[in-house]
Structure formats: C-alpha cells, structure tokens
Symmetry: C2
Subunit: 94 residues, 2 copies
Amino acid sequence: MSNNSNDIIFIGKKPLMTYVTSTIVQLATKPIVTIKARGLTTAIAIDVAQLVIRRTKPAFEISNVSIGSESLVSSDGRNRDVSTIDISIKRTVG
Amino acid sequence: MSNNSNDIIFIGKKPLMTYVTSTIVQLATKPIVTIKARGLTTAIAIDVAQLVIRRTKPAFEISNVSIGSESLVSSDGRNRDVSTIDISIKRTVG
C-alpha cells in the first residue's frame, strides 16, 4: 500500500510506532495529516492517533473523524464490505 | 458490562448482529443512540454503525464520531491505555 499524498498515512501491518512517527514527521510540514485504515486495522488507527496527540501534547488535536465502508474483492473472489475510518489531525490553534 | 442508559450501546463479545438489532430497536424511540467501544472492539463498533445505516437506509445517519483513550487496569495489575470510540446515530432530518 503506497501513499498517494504525503499528508495521508495508511495503516497497514507495520509496528504501531512506525505510523506514530510517520504522522508526527508529516505534521511538521503539513497543516493536516489524515490517518486512514480499514477493517480490523481501524482499531490501530485510533491507537496511532491517540499516541500522536499524547506524545506531542499540546501541539496537535483531532480535527475530524469519519467512518464509512468500502467494497473490496476478497481472496476468494467475493465482494466484502469493510469499514473504514479517517482521522484528521491538525495543529492546535493559539 | 451493563448499559447505564438505553440510548448507549456498549460493544462487547456478542455476535455483531445483536448490536445492530439493539441499536435499531433503541432508535425507534430515542432521538440519538451512541455506540461505544474500546480496544479492538472499536473496529466492530464501526461495522455495527455501518450496518445500521445500510439496513435502515435512508432513515438514520451518523451524527458524530469521537475517539479518545481510557486508562484500564489489566489482568496483570498494570495500567493500560486503551483507545475508545463513540459513534452517535440519529434520525435523518427531512
């Protein structure tokens, strides 16, 4: 899974702290960074967002959280709907 | 885990559809129902919300999603921070 844009972090199978670090690095230069995940990794996305906020306190805050679902073709060829989450983090104002 | 109020659905270890049904039943009489989960079940909460919306389309919509973290004492006696999600569902206006 590759990032189309640097201000989006896709959660995959790497260790949690990889995504925490990537997010903090991107936030150094981008106004908003969005953490995206689907399926069971949505739980990891929430952990990553919480760790970013806690480690950089009070520099950043959650700007928006949205959930949705996406149709994927699974390995057995059938369509499966998976849940998605997008968590946007931005610099704290003031 | 018991519900303090009928308009909150806590996600636990029951089958997914149990929570989908409970949420739809509560929405028949309550203006807003909030689905709450922590840890790995946060992914299930998103699935439940998406299924409720899809099955009752277009009657209900996501009103708000918020994430946070909670300190829990785990079985080995240590403090652990777990991520939480609250998803509010309300009747579609108009």
